[in-house]
């Protein structure tokens, strides 16, 4: 059924279709609509789940950790400061190998207070061990939920789905809503072999000396590696079920491009419009959207970018002291594979609008820019 819904509500409908059993969350702008609608759907019986209404995001993730360890499918949503407060338990979910799914609405971090979008919240969790998928449309924020559970439950790692504050969270788009019955074929009920069980008592997470710890971390990295294939396969299977296919990266008019703009999130949609406009002018330009940040799609990124002459990375985030995060990632993917210039641009922080005009400015600048600058290319900053 097609319906016009806001990005946040598309997330809630994705949760409904995925037969989640325990939800625990705390309100935070601009995520709150997700849990408001979930509260309603649980209250009216459309979702057969328990909703633990906790006193903080830290507790939200702790409740999810407990419920997931007991063998139930669990979900939470948060944003910005809330995600930061969860940090300790985000690590716990990884170490405990729990397939929790979290939707994070990208919101800038204070101070100063900001409720508008940038990626620094989720990117500060880059190294925790969560799979990270950046969504571009309301349809995708919904479709990503059952995919995320399928991926998580296969490799026993949690998945973080990310969407831009307001540009997606509060924007209404047509979404083809998933029905629970349809999704059940794609995502069977969660019934893990290893869980808290009084008939088979084990101690989970107890003190481990140097003899064991490193192996357990090795196993997490192995799972991350396996996730590459699983994410691709699940994206394809989802397409076979519902007609909408998903992959690690999304190239656009890259084949003969002399310059490729690397993007993520909603900036990707705007960028494609600019690519079309510039192609009409005869400029050989393409775009590459990075959908999955962890595990990083090294092969896909390098296969596509090695065929071009120049790469410009658009970062709606900043790693203070070392450019933007996607810029760092792309550079590491191309290391030793090509000598082409890779140039990073910082834009759109704290919700500053990234319009077609802004992207055109980046593209025009990138065409002229010869080499990576030792300093950061700030776009539109008032100095």
């Amino acid at each position: 059924m097609k319906k016009v819904v806001m990005g946040n509500h598309a997330v809630s409908y994705g949760v409904r279709a995925s037969e989640v059993k325990v939800i625990s969350a705390y309100p935070v702008t601009p995520q709150t609509h997700i849990v408001e609608l979930l509260s309603e759907l649980v209250a009216n019986g459309e979702i057969d789940a328990k909703f633990i209404k906790v006193e903080s995001e830290h507790s939200a993730m702790a409740a999810c950790v407990g419920a997931s360890a007991a063998g139930s499918r669990t979900f939470t949503a948060t944003s910005s400061q809330g995600l930061l407060l969860m940090t300790e338990m985000l690590h716990w979910a990884v170490g405990a190998r729990l397939p929790i799914v979290l939707t994070n609405v990208n919101r800038a971090i204070g101070p100063p207070w900001s409720i508008w979008t940038d990626q620094n919240d989720s990117l500060s969790m880059r190294d925790v061990g969560w799979i990270q998928i950046y969504c571009e449309s309301n349809q995708e924020t919904q479709d990503a939920i059952p995919q995320a559970f399928k991926i998580a439950e296969e490799i026993n790692l949690p998945v973080m789905l990310v969407l831009d504050a307001f540009f997606l969270s509060h924007t209404y788009e047509i979404v083809d809503l998933l029905e629970t019955e349809q999704v059940r074929d794609f995502l069977p009920p969660y019934n893990p072999e290893i869980k808290l069980d009084t008939n088979d008592p084990h101690s989970f997470g107890n003190l481990s000396g140097p003899d064991y710890y490193m192996e357990l971390r090795y196993m997490i990295e192995e799972a991350m590696n396996d996730a590459r294939g699983v994410i691709k396969r699940v994206g394809k299977e989802f397409g076979e079920h519902f007609g909408r296919y998903y992959d690690m990266v999304v190239p656009y008019r890259c084949d003969d491009a002399d310059l490729i703009l690397v993007t993520s999130g909603t900036v990707a949609s705007t960028t494609r419009a600019v690519i079309d406009e510039m192609r009409d002018e005869g400029i050989k330009i393409g775009a590459l959207k990075i959908r999955v940040l962890r595990p990083f799609p090294f092969k896909e990124v390098s296969d596509i970018l090695c065929s071009t002459k120049k790469v410009a990375v658009l970062d709606r985030n900043i790693s203070f002291g070392n450019h933007g995060v996607f810029f760092q990632e792309v550079k590491s993917a191309l290391y030793g594979k090509t000598d082409i210039p890779i140039i990073g641009y910082i834009l759109g922080l704290g919700g500053r609008d990234v319009t077609p005009k802004v992207i055109r400015e980046v593209a025009d600048k990138a065409i002229k820019d010869k080499n990576p600058e030792p300093y950061i290319n700030w776009i539109g900053v008032k100095r």
Binding site: K50, V54, E55, G66, A67, G71, F204
Partner: protein
Amino acid sequence: MREARIPTEELMGSGHLACQGCGATIAMRFALKALGSKTILVIPACCWAVIDGTFPHSAVDVPIFHTAFETAAVTAAGVKAGLEMRGDFETTVVAWAGDGGTFDIGLQALSGTAERNDDIIYVCYDNEAYMNTGIQRSSSTPVGAWTTTTPVTNYKTRPKKNMIDIMAAHAIPYIATASVAYPEDLIRKFKKAKAIKGTKYIQILAPCPTGWKLSPELTIWAGRKAVTSKVYPMLEITENGNKLTVWKDFEATSFKEYIKPQGRFRHLKENEIEKIGKDVESSWQRLLAREKMLASIPGLEA
């Protein structure tokens, strides 16, 4: 032949990693005897995170989920919800935390869980300081005590936080104190808690020979003297915080006798001991007055 008052079932093995004379270990042994094998423990950072043993060993025959320091209550609430959604309504879920994880860092999550009245037993085994990290003061440390962060030249001058009153303010169905010196009483309270739906809070005085600078053979002695000297009253709060029952059927002993073998109080001068002793008596009288006062008011219906 008399019937054994303590269940003979043992769900805790002897191969644990506790110090000699550890009160927290005795507390666990009796608690599990009361609760039985259909129990899941959620343990945050505390002595018991170590006592249980290192991977792949465990000292108990029930599942344990180790969790982060401040999350025992809410992780347990999550476990309970997860079990119920799988159709298991029988298993008792117990959060088992120390006083640091309860009075201090875990207070917020515990308050949230109690306010929601999630169906768990929350146990604080109270050894009155951060013993696992090496005897640092917590808000449970009693007035006058030495710890490594309250040296004898600057010992703790603030009273122990009244955690029982805080929990009573949450109107939960069952609150009790217990002491490892009274195992039958402790077992009775756990059995009672197990049968009640909602958040149950049991605070067990668990003397710590290492941290209290007490001879290990005096653990039970100290657990008893704490009660008979009125330092650690044995009480139950039922009817959602509206009924208080204080155990008074004992021969009173002195505060001075209780603290004498405890090195953590050795620096106290006569006049300081006398003053703290008076405060102990005054708190006790207030407790009895409250018991009487609550009994005179009809309980709330809700």
